[in-house]
Symmetry: C2
Subunit: 154 residues, 2 copies
């Protein structure tokens, strides 16, 4: 028999969803702290990561970065400005299409990125499984122990 929270009664999966979002905020908070310990903002790290993860064939244009960062093009321009000022990336001119700037990591940028990726992978090796488990409790055919726990503890 499960006691319903008066506040949450009648909203299915509220506890699991709230837990997932709390886990995300905790992860993002870690990410921000790690980035700023390296002297850059969290978004700047994300931009660098997108650049490094862009497949070989795909040029790292402002438009492409904006798309992967889910930002307006002008915001991507401004973000690149800031990361460039921090010395982590530089713009090159695309010789095929002079409208484009190609953004690439500097050696310093690669070094910092490697550190940050390592730290984040480490974090997710520790906490990723728990996040995945919370996500699974929201799947159609799921009544795991975790879900029962989140539902039952009120």
């Amino acid at each position: 028999m499960k006691e319903e929270n008066a506040r949450s009664s009648a909203i299915p999966h509220l506890a699991e969803l709230a837990e997932f979002r709390y886990q995300l905020r905790t992860f993002l908070s870690f990410s921000e702290a790690a980035s700023e310990a390296c002297g850059i903002a969290a978004q700047q790290y994300q931009l660098m990561q997108v650049i490094a993860a862009t497949p070989e064939g795909r040029p790292a244009t402002i438009s492409h970065l904006a798309e992967r960062m889910i930002l307006r093009h002008n915001s991507a321009v401004e973000l690149v400005d800031r990361v460039e000022k921090a010395g982590m990336v530089r713009r090159r001119n695309d010789e095929q299409d002079l409208r484009r700037s190609l953004v690439e990591l500097t050696p310093e940028g690669k070094k910092i990125l490697q550190q940050l990726v390592t730290q984040h992978v480490q974090y997710l090796k520790t906490h990723g499984e728990e996040i995945a488990r919370t996500l699974r409790t929201l799947q159609p055919a799921s009544q795991t122990e975790k879900a029962k726990d989140l539902d039952g503890r009120r």
Copy 2:
């Protein structure tokens, strides 16, 4: 045999981590759009969700909300101000401790929250499994098809 991306070479798990963050951004972007379609900001929805998910015994004080939202106390105060102005929550005085305000959802707030939770649960029923799978590729003992795909396609 896997071809290494010149940009990503020597950074293990870069592709999987970047993919995970892109999935998160996509989800958060959906969340923002859904919230604003209901006339509130994404953070305001999160606050409401935290309030609703607060266990019965635990009073929904500003301090508690700040902790779950991962915000400074003053920022939580300001967030509650905005959500109160939007008519989604109201403050009550704690009669045991007059320093505290207890924050609770209004009927309108409950209605909107229910809609948003439903939409988000629906989203995660569709996309949650994929996110969980990406997370799993970052686990210690993981060389799934997904991981091979992300590593191999460059």
